[in-house]
């Protein structure tokens, strides 16, 4: 059935309310089953041996002693994961990252794995595997890696995206460029130019649940995988491809997921667990330790960014230029490219250019982290915008409003914007009482803007109506933060029944059609669109059934408030039929009632946010305390406002940690020195204030209810907002994230000396 996804204004009954989530009781009683909470009969315990070197040739792996240990059922190396990628470079990189092939490329790179009857035996077996390494020179720093003298991470990578093709290999895997207009001419028209370089350190998504899975490969070529993932259908394709299984014979079930933030969009241990199970002939459970999570999964890019912005004396920006170097780990990525696309997306610019460079380093493969790449670019650009406001002598909010993108603006990354929220969020901030609250000694206030594209993508949903009229909604986008509640609200809204009569579940890969991952803030946007479509299809069926029950033409049946109603005076005496009435009669009117939907959710509306932050600096210790924090963000339509606020608050908190404290610290030996929550300290409850939120609703024209993705944009402004606040408090421009106490003390010392 044709589905019209265009926005239509309406008043809502269910959408916009705040009911308790359907998976809630399981989660407060400990019954919810996460990745490590599942077991299979005869299950073995898997463990992975990891490289202690940042860069080394693997000359020999001797597994013979480990294989002989009593209780060991399988030992694997890269040989047990033969290359089936058929020239697909991206898949080959995934394979190589799961198990090193010839070279270990970072501290923590998997080199072998065992499956044994218990954890103790598995750990003993790891110690019996002898690996002979030839240690190679390494590079972990993004600025060091781009120097011509730097050791090469990969010997056969030549910078793509430059013409002519370079003749020498380089750690710059790829160059990308976005923008329009004539930047040089634009700078020529500028009265004032600001120029500065910024750095951000590498951070981890920091989900509390480590990666975990149970894999079971059968002798008949079928297999099962239970796993915490943001996208079980994508995991199925990757694992099937790497293991040589038929996609349809690998059934992947997504467990409850204990946080992902992008880090669970990539396979890490799952192909290894399947290979172990295949070799051992038994199910294998594989769970990462926290140290493994830090050393070998995630993290985001470390970056080095140069920004130049020119403006006329009235504050109109005439040109903007950025060069962004993002670390990718040892494999090509698109992280700098995304940074280049997002850097200037908040502004209406005549002349703009951004250049991205993907930089290879001997660190773990960079993974997506909530609005990946955008926070660092926003830190650099929004810091520069604040500098510009200071030089022009304008209020930073007013300068941003003057240059803000609006409907019809050609974005810096190409598309022309529809209705967008950057202007409204800035105006809301300008009016917000937070902006006028008094500040004390050693205190500073900052604000900044952020942008995220939002994704749509392939989505499939089933809506089944039970014999009692209650509804099961089966979706294929993993619920990472309450989307089952939102989607149940949408189904209830569309069908006209109470929320409590809908139960949403996440279907496994064998019971529902393909779905893209829960990434790009697409979960609620895409699956709500598919849910609306499925519900409308079910309503069409129910209208037919009602027509049959009444023995009238279906064209005379309307659907209103959860009831079929016979239209017109000739049917005036027929009482309306509820979903329950129609469902009860279903066995006699044509059988089960269901609505299905398969679609590509296009038109995810872009998202903007503006944040305000107050900080206080302790000049003795250099420590920063966040005193007050306000998030203003466009949600399009907040389906379940509690969970929208939760996304705003959570993103802000992660941004606060990134801005002030979190960083990967590597030693001279190329080893990660802080792979644990004690030394890689994420914000705790006593570090933070309440995080105030303001939801704006500027409808997305490409969704029936106006919904936009909300999950990621909230992490984009904090680095810059906090940097602007700290810079205002200390009186020095802070250009290096995190603004940890030593960096703040150094800035204060420099100010005294200067």
């Amino acid at each position: 059935m044709n589905f019209d996804a265009r926005y239509a204004a309406q008043s809502f009954k269910s959408v916009g309310t705040r009911p308790i989530r359907p998976d809630g009781v399981d989660k407060v009683t400990g019954r919810a089953r996460y990745g490590a909470d599942f077991n299979m009969p005869g299950q073995l315990v898997g463990c992975i041996l990891r490289s202690p070197h940042a860069h080394a040739k693997i000359e020999k792996i001797d597994t013979s002693k480990a294989e002989k240990l009593k209780g060991v059922k399988a030992v694997i190396t890269a040989t047990d994961l033969p290359d089936l990628t058929n020239g697909d470079a991206a898949m080959y990189d995934i394979l190589d990252n799961c198990m090193a092939r010839g070279k270990a490329l970072y501290d923590g790179h998997a080199v072998a794995a065992v499956a044994a009857i218990d954890a103790r035996t598995a750990r003993q077996a790891l110690k019996l595997i002898k690996v002979r390494y030839k240690v190679l020179p390494h590079v972990t720093d993004v600025d060091e890696a781009v120097k011509p003298s730097a050791p090469l991470v990969q010997n056969d990578v030549f910078t793509a995206g430059v013409d002519p093709r370079p003749t020498k290999p380089s750690n710059i895997a790829r160059r990308s460029q976005y923008g329009h207009g004539d930047v040089d001419a634009g700078f020529g028209k500028a009265d004032i130019i600001v120029e500065c370089s910024y750095r951000t350190e590498q951070t981890h998504q920091g989900y509390i649940e480590p990666h975990a899975c149970v894999a079971s490969v059968n002798s008949d070529g079928t297999a099962e995988l239970w796993v915490c993932t943001q996208g079980h259908f994508v995991f199925r394709q990757h694992c099937a491809g790497l293991l040589g299984l038929d996609v349809s014979k690998l059934r992947v079930t997504s467990s409850e997921i204990g946080g992902g933030f992008g880090g669970k969009t990539h396979v890490w241990i799952e192909p290894v667990a399947l290979a172990l199970s295949r070799k051992a002939g038994r199910p294998v459970k594989l769970v990462m330790s926290r140290e493994e999570v830090f050393r070998a999964s995630g993290p985001t890019s470390a970056t080095s960014i140069d920004v130049r912005i020119g403006a006329r004396s009235d504050g109109t920006i005439t040109a903007a230029l950025a060069t962004l170097r993002y670390s990718c780990g040892p494999y090509d990525g698109m992280w700098a490219e995304i940074g280049a696309m997002t850097a200037f997306a908040c502004y209406d610019l005549e002349n703009v250019r951004s250049v991205g460079q993907e930089v290879l380093v001997n660190r773990p493969k960079t993974a997506a982290y909530r609005a990946p790449s955008a926070p660092m670019a926003a830190f650099a650009v929004e810091s520069a915008i604040d500098e510009l406001a200071g030089k022009v002598g304008m209020d930073p909010v007013a300068l941003r409003i003057k240059n803000a993108a609006k409907e019809g603006t050609r974005s810096s990354y190409g598309p022309v914007y529809g209705p967008i929220g950057i202007g409204p969020t800035l105006e809301a901030v300008q009016k917000h009482p937070h902006m006028n609250a008094p500040l004390g000694r050693n205190q500073g206030r900052g604000m900044a803007c952020g942008f995220w594209f939002n994704f749509g993508g392939q989505t499939c949903t089933d809506l089944n109506i039970g014999v009692d009229g209650t509804v099961t909604l089966a979706v294929g986008t993993v619920d990472v933060g309450g989307s089952r509640a939102s989607l149940s609200l949408v189904a209830a809204e569309e069908l006209g029944i109470p929320y409590e009569q809908v139960k949403a579940v996440i279907a496994d890969t064998s019971t529902l059609g393909y779905n893209d991952m829960t990434d790009g803030s697409r979960g609620t946007f895409s699956s709500s669109m598919a849910t609306i479509s499925a519900a409308r299809n079910a309503i069409a069926v129910m209208k037919e059934r009602a027509a049959r029950m009444w023995d009238i033409p279906v064209k005379d049946v309307d659907w209103e408030d959860g009831h079929a109603r016979a239209r017109g005076k000739k049917h005036g005496n027929l009482p309306p039929l509820s979903v329950k009435d129609i469902a009860a009669a279903a066995p006699k009117t044509g059988g089960p009632i269901a609505g299905h939907s398969e679609l590509v959710a296009d038109g995810a509306g872009v998202s903007f946010a503006t944040h305000i932050c107050d900080v206080e600096i302790d000049p003795e210790t250099g420590a920063t305390k966040v005193l007050r924090y306000t998030v203003v963000q466009d949600a399009g339509k907040a389906v379940h406002p509690d969970y929208v606020e939760g996304q705003y608050q959570g993103g802000a908190a992660q941004g606060i940690g990134w801005a002030l404290n979190e960083e990967y610290i590597y030693g001279e030996d190329g080893r990660l020195q802080n792979p644990g929550f004690l030394d890689y300290r994420i914000p705790v409850c006593s570090d933070l204030p309440m995080i105030d939120t303001q939801i704006l609703e500027i409808p997305n024209p490409n969704h029936p209810y106006g919904v936009r993705g909300v999950g990621e944009t909230s992490i984009v402004p904090p680095l810059a907002a906090i940097a602007n606040a700290v810079s205002n408090a200390v009186g020095v421009r802070m250009t290096h994230i995190p603004m940890s106490p030593p960096r703040i003390l150094a800035a204060l010392d420099g100010k005294k000396a200067g």
Partner: protein, 158 residues
């Protein structure tokens, strides 16, 4: 090495198990007794996801040996509700949407109940410091603090 026989009480029930000397209480709860409500987020006592009560004391069960449970009273998340009746903290966490992924929630609930038993009338700051041993990466803690404040109000009234 032969296993150690341990007799203990878990959520009011007499319980016996065998464990190896190096096994943590968390390993025993999860892998031997099927009580997977306590989670392992770090294994080093930094995240609080494995919080349980041992003889009225809040501990990280990843830092306690299984053998140390001998003769003790252990309370876990599985024993927090009274049958179908949720503890006020559990209800308030749901009402306030104080969880997103939910993996830290069992630890927060155990720690928050311990906090309110010791201090039924905590200030916001006391709640924030009382729960500083539990990491949550999803919520920014705002709704957790509000849920605990609301639960404290309800529990005083009952």
């Amino acid at each position: 090495m032969s296993a150690i026989a341990v007799s203990t009480t878990i959520n009011g029930d007499d319980t016996e198990f065998l464990c190896q000397a190096e096994e943590t209480l968390l390993d025993v709860l999860r892998d031997r007794l099927g009580l997977t409500g306590s989670k392992e987020g770090c294994g080093t006592g930094d995240c609080g996801a494995c919080s349980v009560i041992v003889d009225d004391r809040l501990v990280c069960s990843c830092l306690v040996l299984g053998a140390e449970a001998e003769g003790r009273r252990i309370e876990t998340i599985e024993g927090m509700a009274n049958g179908e009746d949720l503890h006020p903290l559990q209800s308030k966490f749901l009402e306030h949407a104080a969880l997103q992924c939910g993996v830290c929630t069992p630890g927060f609930l155990i720690a928050a109940r311990d906090l309110l038993e010791k201090n039924p009338n905590p200030t916001e700051e006391e709640i924030r410091f009382g729960l500083a041993g539990n990491l949550c990466r999803c919520t920014g803690y705002d709704k957790i603090v509000r849920a605990v404040q609301d639960a404290a109000r309800v529990m005083k009234g009952s």
